[in-house]
């Protein structure tokens, strides 16, 4: 029987390669798109109910509700396996056929965006009303107040919960295996099917996720320090 050490050394490079090629890019790209979606959604949800904003608001509420109320795995299945059957004459006569990569990133972005939208909304609400008033009182416009005064402060507040979402997302990318993406978990499954060492292989891939998430936690600590420099040091 091969030694465990030999199994690890021979399969770790393949898992690492899958991580570099799929897991990390999918997580980063999805999180960036998700964050943009989240900021827009949070701003729409916080905007006053007026004119065409009421329609946007309804869409934002529906979007957050939908993606937080259904399982991520089911969402992936609907987007990748289900949408090809959404055949609408004139619009999509052949259904919506997405390659696995696009379907994965779209689903992960929308899913994490829904959660992050609530985080960002809460962070914006946590900034005292006086900050808005002070900025308005010197004649700043609403976009200026948001960009210069509110969002920079909200970013600091939302850093820990957003890091939660990012770390969750990194691990959730393992679900992409189910839509034929050969990411880290899928690679470990394939190797386990060959060498009959599921315990070693799945523990090894778990270690890879743990390392990635540990690095992210460090990054979070570093960013928290950087963005909190203006706070009085606690005595």
């Amino acid at each position: 029987m091969e030694s465990i050490w030999h199994i690890i050394v021979s399969s770790a490079p393949q898992i690492a390669a899958a991580g570099l090629k799929y897991t990390i890019p999918i997580a980063i790209i999805s999180f960036i798109i998700g964050l943009i979606l989240a900021i827009l959604t949070a701003l729409v949800k916080l905007s006053p109910k007026r004119g065409w904003f009421s329609i946007l608001k309804a869409i934002a509420y529906f979007y957050v509700w939908l993606f937080r109320s259904t399982p991520l795995l089911v969402q992936l299945f609907i987007v990748y396996f289900g949408l090809p059957y959404l055949k609408i004459q004139g619009l999509w006569p052949n259904g919506i056929q997405l390659d696995p990569w696009t379907a994965g990133i779209a689903t992960f972005s929308l899913n994490t965006g829904a959660y992050c939208a609530e985080t960002i909304r809460a962070a914006i609400l946590s900034i005292p009303q006086g900050q808005w008033e002070a900025a308005y009182s010197i004649g700043m416009t609403k976009p200026q107040v948001l960009k210069r005064i509110i969002l920079p402060q909200a970013a600091r507040v939302s850093l820990p919960p957003l890091s939660n979402s990012f770390i969750s997302l990194v691990k959730d990318t393992s679900l992409a295996a189910s839509i034929t993406i050969i990411e880290m978990f899928e690679v470990s499954q394939q190797i386990a099917a060959e060498n009959y060492q599921p315990l070693v292989m799945y523990t090894l891939v778990a270690a890879f996720y743990a390392v990635m998430c540990t690095v992210l936690s460090w990054g979070q600590g570093y960013l928290e320090k950087r963005t909190s420099r203006y706070l009085r040091p606690l005595n």
């Binding site: 005292p128 006086g130 900050q131 008033e133 002070a134 900025a135 308005y136 009182s137 010197i138 004649g139 700043m140 416009t141 200026q144 210069r148 005064i149 920079p152 402060q153 600091r156 420099r229 203006y230 706070l231 009085r232």
Partner: protein
């Protein structure tokens, strides 16, 4: 010159301002006094359009704002640029250094070049006695220092009127004195100021005109000597109550 005609403002069922008519002359210091909850702050905040009265006319120099009609954002921004606001709890931007707090308005709103804005900001910080704190963050300053930065921040916009909403109410007496000295100096320079305060001694020292507000109505509109020397019974009671507060504070 600012003048108000028939201003009315309600919060739900509460009538905060009732038929306010008065003028605020340029180069004068007007002090607004009155019991807590009387509508003083609402009146002041209406001048910066942080509050929007439901009816009445607001004349700002040649601009006439009719509160019964929707206000254009251009009008709102224009009035806010010309009226600097200082708040009871300072409301400095905690994520920006002191000097950047002061530069923010001139750069973002007046489109000044950062170098020019910085020079003005440093001069203003010197004026309020905080030149050495330019690179500190607001959280590292005392309340009195923060309030002086807030005054510098509003001066940086070169406003026609400076509106101060109980600028020393959150401060200990020794810190209050530092802020009041800055305001006295501004009053001597003939800046146009409108101040809401509970400090009668300060009101007496600085005011060219006094407004006494109670239950959302102006009950007195005149000179400080009239106000302090020939008060109506209601004002005499108010002043007596304020004096008692001062005495009991000193007794502690």
């Amino acid at each position: 010159m600012i003048s108000l005609e028939h201003l009315n403002k309600t919060f739900g069922n509460h009538q905060a301002l009732t038929d306010i008519n008065t003028t605020f002359n340029a180069h004068e210091t007007t002090v607004i006094v009155g019991p807590s909850g009387s509508g003083k702050s609402t009146l002041l905040r209406s001048l910066n359009l942080l509050e929007r009265p439901e009816s009445g006319i607001y004349h700002f120099n040649d601009d006439n704002i009719d509160f019964a009609k929707p206000l254009s954002s251009k009008t709102i921004l224009n009035v806010r640029r010309k009226t600097g606001m200082v708040f009871q709890d300072y409301n400095l931007f905690p994520h920006l250094s002191v000097v950047k707090n002061v530069m923010e308005g001139p750069i973002q709103v007046l489109n000044q070049k950062p170098d020019a804005a910085k020079q003005t900001a440093l001069d203003l910080l010197d004026k309020v006695g905080l030149a050495d704190k330019a690179d500190a963050y607001p959280g590292q300053l005392s309340g009195g220092q923060q309030q002086r930065v807030a005054i510098a921040r509003s001066l940086a916009m070169n406003p026609e009127y400076i509106l101060l909403d109980e600028p020393t109410s959150a401060l200990d007496p020794e810190l209050e004195a530092g802020v009041l000295r800055v305001l006295l100096a501004l009053a001597k320079e003939d800046d146009s100021m409108i101040i809401v305060t509970h400090n009668m001694e300060f009101a007496r020292a600085v005011a060219d005109k006094i407004l006494f507000v109670e239950d959302g109505k102006i009950l007195f509109d005149g000179t400080p000597s009239e106000f302090f020397k020939q008060p109506t019974q209601r004002i005499a009671d108010f002043l007596a109550a304020m004096t008692f507060t001062t005495i009991s504070d000193k007794a502690k």
